[in-house]
């Protein structure tokens, strides 16, 4: 069975649309992502693989390493096409950044470099988009939280307010200063005094 999109792409191909046309390349990627279309991937491969090979050969001056880069890059395009986000840039830019990352990781393992830092830690090209930052503070021990909540009751009201806004609501010190209409320095000293007091309370009751 042929889908409407596939027919559309096919007719575009017939009218000599090339993957260097950004819209066409993006449409091919979306066919790979949504339907695992082999025909769409073959067309992308025919266009990008030789160009990647030319780039990698210049970079490495080594046939085998160059082929490794082509294969690894195009494998990612096949397996992770769903991570391409058209609103963030063109298909060819996305493929370039995948190749850049693979090149970086090949080079960093070179005996003259031995970098610890990996490409996806620098440029998260293939990270799921819903990568999110964690804002629990490692204090998931319910008992400890309950205890701390009790200790907070013992703080002077002004300090407690600041602590709650920072550690419960999750505001920055500057936001707390703005919200309460007090100087940043005051927020900082209240935080410091409150934490000192809490530390004493925890230690005393340990």
């Amino acid at each position: 069975m042929q889908t409407a999109t596939e027919t559309n792409i096919r007719s575009k191909s017939m009218s000599s649309a090339q993957p260097d046309n950004p819209d066409h390349a993006a449409a091919l990627l979306s066919l790979v992502a949504n339907e695992q279309s082999r025909r769409a991937f073959s067309e992308l491969f025919a266009y990008f693989a030789p160009r990647l090979k030319a780039y990698a050969t210049r970079q490495f001056g080594n046939e085998q390493t160059a082929m490794d880069l082509v294969q690894e890059t195009m494998t990612n395009v096949w397996k992770k096409a769903h991570l391409f986000k058209p609103d963030r840039g063109s298909a060819s830019t996305w493929i370039f950044t995948i190749a850049r990352n693979i090149r970086f990781d090949i080079l960093r393992k070179n005996k003259h470099r031995q970098y610890d830092l990996s490409a996806d830690e620098l440029w998260p090209v293939l990270a799921e988009q819903n990568e999110s930052f964690n804002d629990d503070y490692g204090l998931d021990d319910e008992l400890l939280m309950q205890q701390l909540a009790n200790y907070c009751e013992e703080l002077p009201k002004a300090q407690r307010t600041v602590i709650e806004m920072i550690y419960v609501v999750g505001k920055s010190q500057q936001e707390v200063a703005d919200a309460l209409g007090i100087p940043l320095g005051t927020v900082k000293s209240r935080t410091r005094l409150a934490l000192q007091k809490l530390k004493e309370l925890v230690q005393r009751n340990d």
Partner: protein
């Protein structure tokens, strides 16, 4: 408003990965914080992609030297694998750093490398530092200066780059705030200090051998910020 940016050359070398790991972290963190440089970096990626993939015809010398390219076998091998589907797996990263009872929100590049930030050590005065293990020759360090802290006047034998992650510091020539990045070579003398506000910075230093000896460490108190 960020006043101090890396040069276009640094940005370009960041985009291609041609900097030391320490400097890649520095520029990457600046790019996280600076929409203007993020935009430039993206334009550079697009330009490089166009240069690489844009030509309708492959260069002739490439076609000639390309006889060994067995596209069909590779294509078949790739498509024999199962494509991945969307997964709902959320990668949780901790972007929060708590130091001296203060909460800092780390920019994305640092947050992704949170596990590389080592133990915080208290230094003379109200300064703290933690090494960031990224490999390579340069040394990458996070430095925290509490309010009203001053570093003795010093010069560096190597090149130093400092990025403000959060807060403010001053030296003889300027004031540096969130996202500002400054580069110093060995000739410049400077005296960084904080005033009413504290300051968390990321600093990279290239590491000449003679810096690491015990004697020069005694002679240059600031080098202890970077070297154990």
């Amino acid at each position: 408003m960020i006043k101090f940016h890396p040069s276009e050359e640094y940005l370009f070398n960041y985009v291609t990965g041609e900097l030391s790991p320490a400097m890649l972290m520095m520029v990457g963190t600046h790019v996280d914080m600076c929409p203007q440089c993020a935009n430039t970096a993206q334009e550079m990626e697009t330009a490089l992609a166009n240069k690489l993939f844009g030509q309708a015809q492959l260069p002739e010398e490439f076609e000639a030297g390309n006889e060994g390219f067995d596209g069909a076998a590779m294509l078949a091998e790739i498509m024999a694998q199962t494509p991945q589907q969307h997964d709902d797996k959320v990668v949780k990263l901790s972007n929060e750093l708590i130091l001296e009872g203060k909460r800092f929100e780390l920019p994305a590049t640092l947050a992704r490398n949170h596990h590389r930030i080592g133990q915080w050590q208290k230094l003379i005065g109200k300064m703290w530092r933690a090494p960031v293990q990224v490999g390579g020759q340069d040394v990458l360090t996070m430095i925290y200066m509490a309010e009203n802290t001053r570093v003795a006047e010093h010069t560096h034998k190597g090149n130093e780059a400092t990025l403000v992650v959060n807060g403010v510091f001053n030296d003889e020539t300027s004031e540096y705030r969130d996202g500002d990045i400054m580069f110093l070579d060995g000739k410049v003398k400077h005296t960084p200090e904080t005033r009413q506000e504290d300051c968390l910075t990321l600093a990279a230093l290239d590491a000449p051998m003679h810096f690491t000896s015990g004697v020069s460490r005694l002679l240059n108190p600031f080098s202890s910020l970077f070297f154990k």
